[in-house]
């Protein structure tokens, strides 16, 4: 009898299964991959529907209840993030299908790019399965394993491009990822040592201030901050995201960094929330401010489109961290909702942006921003997608980014800490600056534009524009996803605690 849990299991099992099959039948990889993406989206939809009906739930894998076994914890937050992954993943998959067919189709490059397609699909599906697993899991060590899959597959995908810069970036990414997961594992080990438990919800009840707890929290946080690329630790992100293949960039910027931030939310928003002092949140918020400023300024200085987008990711991640002190400040749940909206809208917008940039790159043969004037004539839809996504990133109404910003602004003003709100507004003005740098070129029309290739498959252009549109309309539809959060629980984990036996 299919129910929420069944579909949750499907969300993990289906991508993994298809990853294995894709590897064996590499000639059919694209078809299988798209099939998996479709099934995954279906499962996410079904799970959401059942979740709305029956509410949050814990699922004991292997029939072993929490302290001994690994449990899924399906609450509003996980459902939303899984759904976000499904939507973004589906359109990236469709984009990738067009992308790789194009690269293989062009004469003389068959040998070079054949293996890119063959290996992209299984690795991407593994990554997808691990993302779903991470969002659903309630076990700290299990989360470590999924984090490892995510990190390693992200590195492999980055290196897939084969260019020297991409390889160096992948190497750096791998080392950072190693350091991050090692630190995280250390934290988990120390937590297990002091509490003898790995389940998040159970842990949240046991947490009490002690030296070892602080040590483990510091280690966990450091590891996750490295992986999320918060401001001073962001150095690895721009080269990796900018030098990867276009669908890979979309995945990395849209989804992968969200995984570790999601864990930050769980840790700082729930598990450790009772013991953490406000000053710690402020510290993260200040780093977030740094990220917003530094990322935006760097983005303004970039000459290459993909580097600009990558630095914009650094800045946008800063937003999410600015939200952390506000979550703490907020007596209600609107800061939570804002963060989730920001995450979702950034996932859609940034993926769409990288996808559009990839199409532009393929068409123009380069991504020097200054030489892109007139590309609108040959790639109207992709240019439009880019601008739409940019509008979302700027936090313009009615995008999801706007509603998120609005809610955070309200919280910061109501809480008397208006400077966070001002930072948000300054950040969006800077974002407007760097989006404008590109958009002003894209919107201009010139009579002729030299283009390298004849045609970009329509699926590449349309998948990007639809995703960008979704990001823009997310604000208008915000009530539905956030209602889901309310239906489950205003605060992600609290309701589960009651359900837990």
């Amino acid at each position: 009898m299919p129910d929420t849990a069944f579909w949750a299991v499907c969300l993990v099992v289906v991508p993994l299964f298809f990853a294995l099959i894709c590897f064996v039948r590499s000639d059919q990889a694209a078809v299988l991959g798209l099939l998996a993406a479709g099934l995954n989206a279906l499962a996410a939809l079904a799970m959401t529907v059942f979740f709305v009906r029956s509410g949050p739930l814990r699922y004991a894998i292997g029939g072993w209840q929490a302290p001994l076994g690994i449990n899924f914890s399906i609450d509003g937050l996980s459902v939303l993030l899984v759904a976000m992954t499904a939507v973004t993943g589906l359109s990236v998959s469709m984009y990738a299908r067009g992308y790789f067919s194009l690269r293989i189709g062009s004469a003389g490059e068959i040998n070079r790019h054949g293996h890119q397609r063959a290996f992209f699909w299984p690795v991407w599906l593994l990554l997808w399965g691990a993302l779903n697993g991470l969002f659903l899991s309630a076990d700290l060590f299990n989360v470590y394993v999924t984090l490892e899959i995510i990190g390693l597959s992200a590195v492999v995908l980055t290196a897939l491009s084969g260019k020297p810069a991409a390889r160096l970036a992948a190497m750096r990414y791998l080392l950072v990822s190693l350091l991050g997961s090692c630190s995280y594992l250390f934290g988990v080990a120390l937590l297990y040592r002091s509490y003898g438990i790995l389940d998040m919800a159970a842990l949240a009840r046991l947490i009490s201030p002690a030296p070892l707890m602080w040590a483990s929290l510091a280690l966990l946080t450091t590891g996750l901050l490295l992986k999320t690329a918060l401001f001073p630790l962001h150095f690895w992100l721009p080269p990796a995201h900018a030098n990867a293949l276009a669908p890979v960039s979309a995945i990395l910027s849209g989804l992968v960094v969200k995984a570790s931030f999601y864990l930050m939310l769980r840790l700082w928003g729930d598990i450790f929330a009772q013991v953490l002092p406000f000053a710690a949140y402020v510290l993260l918020g200040v780093l977030g401010c740094g990220a917003v400023l530094w990322g935006a300024v760097q983005a303004l200085l970039q000459k290459r489109l993909k580097m600009l987008i990558a630095y914009s990711t650094v800045a946008q991640l800063g937003y999410l961290f600015i939200a952390l002190p506000l979550i703490r400040l907020d007596p209600g749940s609107s800061a939570w909702e804002a963060v989730i909206l920001l995450i979702m809208s950034h996932a859609c917008a940034k993926s769409a942006m990288f996808m559009a940039a990839g199409s532009i790159f393929l068409k123009a043969g380069h991504d020097r921003i200054d030489d892109l004037a007139g590309i609108k004539e040959v790639l109207p839809i992709s240019s439009f997608a880019f601008v739409l996504a940019g509008v979302s990133l700027m936090g313009f109404p009615p995008s999801g980014g706007f509603v998120g910003k609005w809610l955070l602004l309200g919280v910061s003003l109501a809480g008397g800490e208006w400077w966070w709100g001002v930072m948000l507004v300054i950040g969006s003005l800077l974002a407007a600056g760097y989006v404008y740098r590109v958009a002003s070129r894209l919107l201009v029309f010139k009579v002729t534009f030299f283009s390298r290739r004849q045609s970009i498959p329509p699926v590449m252009e349309w998948s990007a524009v639809l995703l960008a549109l979704l990001a823009l309309l997310l604000g208008l539809l915000a009530g539905y996803p956030l209602g889901l959060l309310e239906a489950g629980s205003p605060f992600p984990l609290h309701a589960c605690r009651e359900v837990m036996p």
Binding site: F141, V145, E148, L152, V155, V156, A159, S161, G162, K163, P164, A165, A166, R167, L168, A169, A170, M171, R172, L174, L175, S177, L178, L179, C182, L185, F186, A189, L190, Y192, R193, G196, L198, P239, A242, N243, L245, A246, R304, K306, M307, A357, G358, F361, L362, H366, D367
Partner: protein, 110 residues
């Protein structure tokens, strides 16, 4: 000071040395060795934690976690080593930062 605490400190020291090496070494191979040291240190602390104070009751869960960790670590090491060779192949150096200018300014792929 009992033996277990000694082992704990030993694990900590391994982690710290690995961390130091990972950050300060310039050759990539050494960085990867250092990362392996770090995880060994963590494993050691986990296994020590599994021994009860009386060394009678052994908790098997950390053992299982360390087994998982060892496999994960060999997997990442394998990928890392291949990457090192590739970096050496394309930049003639197995170093991370030296070719930065070329890496970031050059043509890249979509």
């Amino acid at each position: 000071m009992n033996t277990l605490f000694l082992y704990t400190m030993s694990g900590l020291a391994l982690f710290a040395i690995g961390l130091h090496g990972l950050i300060r070494s310039s050759h990539l191979l050494r960085k990867i060795l250092a990362a392996n040291l770090m995880s060994s240190g963590v494993f050691l602390i986990m296994i020590v934690g599994a021994c009860g104070t009386d060394q009678v009751m052994i908790d098997p869960v950390p053992h299982a976690m360390v087994l998982t960790g060892i496999v994960v670590s060999v997997s990442t090491t394998a990928v890392a080593l291949v990457l090192v060779c590739l970096v050496q192949e394309t930049t003639n150096r197995a170093l991370l930062w030296q070719k930065r200018k070329r890496g970031q300014g050059g043509r890249t792929d979509a």
